[in-house]
Symmetry: C2
Subunit: 334 residues, 2 copies
DNA sequence: TATTTAAGCTAAAAGGATTTATTAAGCAAA
DNA sequence: TTTGCTTAATAAATCCTTTTAGCTTAAATA
């Protein structure tokens, strides 16, 4: 177990000062007028002995950790997992690392996480905010920490966010159902006032209102067990004799599919929010309102990097269009 | 933007020394014989002003960061995503945080990641090792950093690991095929010498040898595109007139399903390694060799925490049994 | 009375970098 | 000779804790 080599060791070995070595290593040789010969000598030696600075000491001094806090609803949900993966790859190229935690939409946990990440002095935050953390986020922003929200936003907090056009997505899906000739079109959502849920509901309602059709809306408790949800969905579809259902999240749609399997009833036409392997492979394949995952990730990173470099000008609210991927599940067979 | 409050501010405000405050905050009041009245006075004040120590300074001094490096093949694969989620939840309770990166099985990236996490002085590592990183891991272990491998291990490196019993799992699956009366049983795996792949192949071979049956083995390139893989699988199944196929990973099996859909041929009986929502919902439901994800996560954490506390006695090699979850896809209908 | 012992607290070092302010030497101009 | 300006480098301060080693004071023991 050999001892770590320090910048002072380098300085001593070469008979120069620590300052000089530090300047050279931080690309300030030119600016600080260190001679080229010495610069080369130091760099060669550093390479030879494989010196790597202590990042903690560096961070303590500079206040920068090169770490980004990713606070996400649930890393095991493919939608979030995929975004996490894209984000991670992108920031990696810029020398940043990700420290993450899942919130499970628990606002207490979210607050705690933000606090802890902040104590760890992450350089910036990427957050899927749960409800009731407006103040926490505001404090963050007031203390000048770069924050980008995604998937949903907090109307009362002025901050950058990147979301999908949930309203239009739900609207389009509902219109599609109507065009296909479905009569009794339901929506399955969650007991949640988060903006993405509110907008999906809104898009559905707007379309239904336009068609002068009765709305059928079923909300599931956030903390309901899957078994409970399965039964509730069965009841919802059968009792209302629905011939088409729009699901506000991928896992709700999956629960719907399981419900059909368990209670062995014929599923109505289906559209799910967020694509998922299950939907592509299902027989019939499930139509989805697909969010532009890669674009979302790209925009999040771009905004955050600008903010980290202090180059961000105005606050950005980005709403990216969804794509309705029509598959068999929403086509009426006559 | 108010200034951060420091431990020296507390000391000054109360007219005591920084040392005293530090002792009290680190639960050493008793040990260091600080009077109870002073202890209380300090704690009350700290609470009142909401002082939180600078974790970077703390880490610099103590050498502990309370961060664990999770280096995982692919966070967007539900198998890994789920394990990540479980690990994260467990270590969170112990005050640790996770910093992670996906390797995509790229050994160069893995080496780089280990190096960077090490520079950041993570307290311990959880790694799904890719091939060719034996030396990197050895160095880590020699410098006394706690490391736990999972999903696969490195035969040449003496370190703790937690894996599923891949050999037995594949063996059981193959036996099950045979019992069901399938004649031409194939295996789809990867061009990879990682232990989990080797063992799954081994289990399949042992069973096939016992039954004196010809083996049909198709390996896919790690870097093959999904489209290529889909076509290759089609060819493999049809050309060999296979009536049963065991897939060595969940995504290979999914590719297999897609292959059936694309080329519109009747799929043989199927068994997949690792469960996945797709398999539960598929029509017919897919039989799987399911890994005990929760147990795996628990054991990883337990071992790591013991090592972090310096209480680990011997090196642990844990091999946990898989469960064959028989569903419709592997039942021969007569 | 002189010396230990214990209680209660603290000054200063250490951890390892970055950054500010300063110096020393050499040369040109006044 | 003095002043001023470059160039090339450095000493020391700083970031904020924890921890080592030690200092008072008072009571207990020899």
């Amino acid at each position: 177990m050999k001892k770590r080599i320090l910048i002072s060791d380098i300085a001593k070995a070469l008979g120069v000062s620590v300052t000089t070595v530090s300047f050279i290593l931080n690309d300030k040789a030119k600016e600080k007028r260190i001679s080229e010969s010495l610069t080369k000598r130091v760099l060669d030696y550093v390479k030879k002995v494989g010196y790597k600075p202590n990042e903690l000491a560096k961070s303590l001094r500079t206040g920068k950790t090169k770490i980004i806090g990713l606070i996400i609803e649930d890393i095991s949900n493919p939608f979030f997992g995929n975004i996490a993966r894209l984000i991670e790859t992108k920031v990696y190229e810029q020398g940043y690392r990700i420290i993450y935690c899942s919130t499970n939409n628990d606002s207490e946990k979210t607050k705690e996480l933000i606090g802890m990440f902040n104590d760890r002095q992450v350089d910036g935050f990427i957050i899927t905010p749960s409800e009731g953390i407006e103040e926490t986020i505001s404090n963050l922003i007031q203390s000048n920490v770069p924050v980008v929200l995604f998937d949903r936003y907090l109307p009362e907090v002025e901050t950058d966010y990147v979301i999908a056009d949930n309203f239009q997505g739900a609207f389009d899906a509902t219109v599609h159902f109507n065009e296909q000739g479905y009569k009794r079109i339901g929506l399955v959502s969650l007991y949640s006032d988060q903006t993405q849920m509110r907008d999906r509901l809104g898009g559905y309602m707007k379309a239904m209102d336009q068609f002068k059709k009765q709305a059928y809306i079923k909300k599931i408790q956030l903390d309901a067990s899957e078994a409970e949800a399965i039964d509730e969905l069965h009841e919802f579809v059968v009792d209302n004799r629905l011939d088409a259902v729009l699901f506000a999240t991928n896992y709700l749609a999956i629960t719907g599919l399981k419900s059909g399997k368990k209670h062995n009833y014929k599923l109505p036409a289906l559209i799910a929010f967020d694509d998922h392997t299950v939907f592509k492979l299902h027989e019939p394949a499930i139509t989805v309102v697909s969010q532009p995952i890669e674009e979302i990730a790209n925009h999040i990173i771009n905004i955050l990097l600008l903010k980290l470099q202090g180059k961000a000008k105005a606050i950005k609210h980005l709403t990216l269009p969804c794509e309705l991927k029509v598959r068999e599940s929403s086509i009426l067979k006559r």
